[in-house]
Subunit: 239 residues, 2 copies
């Protein structure tokens, strides 16, 4: 099974990216992706704090949008200090790790999971969260729960590494399509709804699209199921 | 049971002390002690990185020597990236936490444990290690094991917090004396050996004293047992 990819979304400080890389490598993770880092990429401040984890930074990929960063991933877990998003299941980090490990390989390709971490000050916004299959919660002190970015990355990596020594609890029959197939479907759905003049109140449109994305993300649909959904749209248009 | 005390030995950067305080409070730990921090105490750089964990810094105690810092503690665990000290048992952090939780309260006082973390660049020297009842090892990536100071403190705290949700595995019949009683004994032993012209080669004296300290530390002697050892010395002197 491929280890999870760590994705840092709109990180502000390069030094935090470096500290995340170090924490990742401490736990044997080396696949790092960035989405729209504030100060651009590459960033010398990251190299300074990575200690000798420059092997991680050297292969780090940078993307303009979250959708591009997760296009080839199958499952996205978003970390949050405040699990308040109603439509997405919330898992303590240790359970999330067990779920990731229980995902079987499909016959054609591995099921790639990615873990998403938000910007330092604000965390992930609802738009980013709507891409997630599940939210990861770190059960820290409820009176002082806010983790530094690299600390959160470390705790995920630590739990991942910890779990490698344990047997896999169970296996879920699930072969989700790559996210790019889901995005194709969602984009088509949006276009079709546009043409159907579904968005009568323009200011509600973003929120409506987020709800749809979150809903279909939760299905963890396979490629065959997405084809089915495409067929449903095509069929409905004919009525 | 009192939560463990975190002791930072000869920490160089105030910002790291602040990050340690934040990581501690994330995990519900709030007893912090410093031994000879390089830049003195209090240190504004610590407050800047502690986020809102200033409650921890406000009650942090600062000591000139390690012996003073642990005088009222009963068990000292030292963290190390390179567990190479032959005479001291080494425990993975999760096992160390179980051992600490298994220590019973004595009738007169709680058994207080403390966790020792060394300076950023070099880690703990042999002199400091010789005070430890056991060494704590963090099973990170063997090819990239060096943890940032606050990351190590976080992982200890995380494992401590994680364990609170689990039943205590077993209980060890052990009521170690406070360290100050052990130090009294070791100081007396050194004086007696001095008088007995035991230290024929002056340059070997520090290493010999470290070995003795490590040996007697490992016994986890109770006050009654230390009294017995005092009696042994007194008796031997009469022969």
């Amino acid at each position: 099974m491929p280890p999870p990819i760590i994705i840092l979304h709109q990180t502000q400080l390069g030094q935090n990216i470096g500290m995340c890389a170090r924490a990742m490598l401490n736990c044997g993770l080396d696949q790092l992706r960035l989405v729209a880092p504030r100060d651009g990429w590459p960033n010398p401040a990251a190299i300074a704090t990575a200690a000798d984890a420059d092997v991680v930074l050297a292969q780090t990929q940078c993307f303009a949008t979250l959708a591009e960063a997760i296009a080839d991933c199958h499952h996205l877990y978003a970390t949050t200090a405040r699990p308040r998003h109603q439509a997405i299941p919330v898992l303590p980090v240790a359970e999330a790790v067990q779920q990731i490990r229980a995902q079987p390989n499909s016959t054609s390709s591995d099921q790639q999971s990615a873990i998403l971490f938000g910007p330092e000050a604000s965390g992930l916004d609802n738009n980013a969260l709507s891409h997630a299959n599940a939210l990861i919660h770190f059960p820290t002190n409820p009176n002082f729960s806010s983790l530094n970015l690299a600390q959160a990355v470390l705790l995920f990596g630590w739990e991942w590494r910890r779990a490698q020594a344990q047997p896999i609890a169970h296996s879920v029959p699930l072969t989700a399509a790559p996210k790019k197939e889901l995005h194709n479907f969602l984009n088509r759905l949006e276009n079709e709804l546009e043409q159907a003049e579904f968005f009568l109140t323009p200011e509600l449109r973003p929120e409506t699209l987020r709800k749809l994305r979150s809903l279909f993300t939760r299905t963890q649909a396979s490629e065959q199921e997405l084809n089915l959904l495409h067929g449903v749209i095509t069929a409905l248009k004919k009525t």
